[in-house]
């Protein structure tokens, strides 16, 4: 993946990476200015880091600041680099590794379109009820469900809906925040 991880530092003597990758959720506070997202995303692609999920929105309108939540897979050494490289960007104020800092709350929203008739329709509604998904649109042959929760719960709901006539899914990506009284 990253050239700098090569213990030999040479293409003539390649070795394999020994550290295992971990999934971490990072939250990045940035100035909401043109191109800031491109800087963050460009850094990930330029240095060969992974992005599994990305969520961006302005959270402090008066200060023009946005919160970017990134889920990444990386070895501990690369994770430390990701954090430092992000902090190096001029419009980045703070970077927190929520996974490393203890338990955090993680939520995602998804909309699912499911088409079907007869028994499938009943089953669809029963499952939606069990998962506390809301019906936000309905026709005689379809529903659109809104579901929020941890990504794993949404994954499971999608899996269950697949054989019942799932047409399409849209997901927001992860929003995450720490527990307790302290802010970022």
């Amino acid at each position: 993946m990253n050239a700098h991880l090569q213990p030999t530092g040479s293409a003539y003597f390649l070795t394999t990476e020994t550290q295992a990758a971990e999934r971490h959720t990072l939250t990045v506070l940035v100035d909401n200015e043109p191109g800031v997202l491109a800087r963050v995303v460009g850094l990930f692609s330029a240095r060969g880091y992974n992005i599994d999920s990305l969520t961006v929105s302005e959270t402090e309108h008066d200060k023009h600041r946005s919160r970017i939540t990134i889920v990444t897979m990386a070895t501990p050494k690369v994770l430390a680099q990701i954090k430092l490289q992000l902090e190096r960007l001029v419009p980045v104020h703070k970077v927190h590794d929520l996974t490393a800092e203890g338990e955090s709350l993680e939520r995602e929203l998804a909309l699912l379109k499911v088409a079907g008739k007869g028994e499938n329709r009943v089953e669809t509604l029963r499952l939606a009820d069990a998962f506390r998904a809301q019906v936000v649109d309905a026709s005689t042959e379809s529903f659109v469900f809104e579901i929020t929760g941890k990504p794993a719960k949404i994954d499971q709901f999608i899996t269950l809906m697949a054989p019942l006539g799932l047409v399409e899914v849209v997901r927001t990506g992860l929003a995450a925040i720490t527990r307790g009284p302290e802010g970022m």
Binding site: Q6, S10, A11, F13, L14, Q85, R88, V90
Partner: protein, 589 residues
């Protein structure tokens, strides 16, 4: 008080307010308003280049030799894309540049207009920061912020893209207070943590086999950093080595100097790095050309790392004591803390270490077999060094990239910082000639020499025309071996001596070429006549292209092959470098 003026006038005004005296540039349609504003003033001198890449390297040479910010002005589209190589070079070597690129008018942005390109998109990854200024109200702040960002913290290039209509627009110019600049997030840490500095000094006081490993950060932190390094070295008695970028920060004439380290560093510097017990890295970044094989890099040492960029810490090599801060400030603190704990160099404790180092020195790893029939490149640089020393002038050296660059680093010696300009990180062939022009602009009375190769120099050859136009007496010292020598050396080492496109066919006659440009040409292929030819070059008051015809197949040694540890260095007495890497290693290619 705010003053009303056009965007183009603001550019000139902000440059003046930031103490800019010279800018390197090339005009074009979108840049015309700024050029018009420049025409109507005489505070800033504009140097007209022949290609925008040349402008960026000139600004780099200017910046490195003065410690000031280099300034570039180019037009939209191809003007901006031609500047990309120099911007990347400046980013890799941490050189402060402000590059103003003109852009098509805002109403045409995104329409694939004539000479339009996505400059901020293209330069995002090769600048420290960049701006597209769409509103005249933002221009004064951006212009001043750009200088702040380029020159503070870890220096780097900043691009300001200004659409033509914004250059024409009227607005209020003001000089913003640095503290109220918009980016509250940009606050580089200057002072090192005192606890960490104390711990580092304690570690140094217990060291038995210490070494200072210094880098470009010491140069970037200004002459005070070099002074503090010299003081600390004298105080401790420790040996000092440096990366390519840090040459001159510590005097080469000092007995504590081990020479450069790394792939083509000296035997004593690399072995000292490998066997040390305490490594003190000041402003270097454990580049792969320094470390060689990382899992075998200095295995028994504890490491102190001083760097202004937190992301340099533990990026490649894990360290025991990281100190984030400006090299000058941290070194001064180290001197103060060291003095408070001891007033004796650790001469006795490290005497066995020096004995060991002297044994390594005795190997004479920079030795070479001289010849009476052909000029050896090392000999040519040695003679150039002696002759330039005798001139009694301030001497500045720039280089291109390749064997000649490494030979220059090995055989030309520097006692002062800011005298050595080379493309270290990006390794840009074609850097040296324009960089020499930039240095000469900043130091009109100095002796400025580009030690070049015949392949590299042809990449930016046209800038000799700039030197002629501005009467800049740069000396281009071409070690002509009719080879891309370093490529040829690697092909011998690792690719079975199959010389795929690594030789220069149909080379120009450099003497005639020089004359065609209005410069002087000198050629020499006889070792006995070399000194006289060098004198002829140095005595000429104007730019000179000196074609030194050297030994074609000389190898640049010593060498640590890529991916090998420091103690597997190839020494000059090795007859056949093709046998160094075994068959198993070659199959991994």
């Amino acid at each position: 008080m705010a003053e009303q003026m056009t965007g183009a006038e603001m550019v000139i005004r902000a440059l003046t307010d930031n103490g800019v005296e010279h800018i390197f540039g090339y005009p074009g349609g979108a840049a015309l308003p700024i050029y018009d504003a420049m025409f109507q003033q005489d505070k800033i001198q504009h140097i007209l280049v022949r290609h925008e890449q040349g402008a960026t390297h000139m600004a780099e040479g200017y910046a490195r030799s003065t410690g000031k910010c280099g300034v570039v002005l180019v037009t939209s589209g191809p003007g901006a894309t031609n500047a990309v190589t120099g911007l990347t070079d400046a980013l890799m070597d941490s050189i402060p540049l402000v590059c103003i690129t003109a852009q098509v008018p805002t109403n045409l942005i995104g329409s694939d207009a004539f000479q339009e390109c996505d400059t901020v998109g293209i330069t995002r990854s090769c600048t420290k920061y960049n701006y597209l200024v769409k509103r005249i109200e933002d221009l004064p702040r951006v212009l001043h912020e750009a200088f702040l960002i380029a020159t503070t913290g870890r220096p780097g290039p900043v691009v300001i893209d200004i659409p033509k209509d914004v250059q024409f627009a009227l607005g209020n110019y003001y000089q913003p207070d640095v503290e109220t600049l918009r980016h509250q997030s940009y606050r580089p840490q200057m002072d090192g943590d005192l606890g960490a500095i104390e711990a580092a000094v304690d570690m140094m006081l217990r060291a038995e086999r210490p070494v200072f490993y210094t880098g470009g950060g010491v140069i970037n932190a200004g002459p005070e950093a070099s002074e503090a390094l010299r003081e600390l070295a004298e105080l401790t008695g420790f040996p000092v080595t440096s990366t390519l970028m840090g040459l001159g920060a510590f005097p080469a004439s000092n007995p504590q100097w081990l020479g450069m380290l790394g792939m083509h560093g000296t035997y004593e510097a690399n072995l000292a790095m490998h066997d040390c017990d305490v490594m003190i890295n000041i402003g270097a970044r454990f580049d792969d050309r320094i470390t060689g094989r990382i899992d075998a890099f200095s295995p028994g040492s504890r490491k102190i790392h001083v760097d202004i960029d937190p992301s340099s810490i533990n990026k490649v090599v894990p360290v025991d004591i990281p100190i984030i801060g400006d090299c000058a400030r941290v070194l001064r603190e180290m001197v103060r803390v060291y003095r408070s704990k001891s007033n004796q160099p650790r001469t006795e404790a490290i005497a066995p270490w020096w004995e060991q180092i002297d044994e390594w020195r005795a190997v004479n790893s920079l030795g070479y077999k001289n010849s009476t029939t052909t000029i050896k490149p090392q000999y040519a640089i040695e003679r150039l060094y002696e002759a330039s020393k005798a001139q009694g002038k301030d001497v500045y050296i720039t280089t291109e990239v390749g064997q000649h660059q490494m030979w220059a680093a090995q055989h030309f010696h520097f006692d002062q910082p800011n005298r050595w300009m080379t493309s270290g990180g990006l390794g840009t062939m074609g850097y040296g000639l324009p960089a020499a022009v930039g240095v000469q602009v900043a130091h009109p009375d100095a002796l400025v020499i580009d030690i070049a190769g015949e392949a590299s120099v042809q990449m930016t050859m046209q800038e000799i025309s700039t030197a002629v136009q501005y009467r800049l007496p740069v000396k281009i010292f071409i070690l002509n071996n009719e080879r891309m020598g370093m490529v040829r050396q690697w092909q011998d080492l690792l690719h079975g001596s199959r010389y795929a496109h690594s030789y220069s066919e149909s080379l120009p006659d450099f003497v005639k070429l020089a004359e065609a440009y209005g410069a002087k040409g000198v050629r020499c292929d006889n070792p006995a006549e070399l000194d006289a030819a060098i004198a002829e070059m140095l005595d000429y008051d104007g730019p000179v292209l000196f074609d030194v015809v050297v030994e074609k197949d000389e190898n640049c040694l010593p060498m640590i092959p890529s991916g090998k540890p420091h103690n597997e260095i190839i020494l000059p007495d090795t007859a056949n470098i093709g046998s160094i890497i075994d068959e198993k290693g070659r199959q991994l290619v």
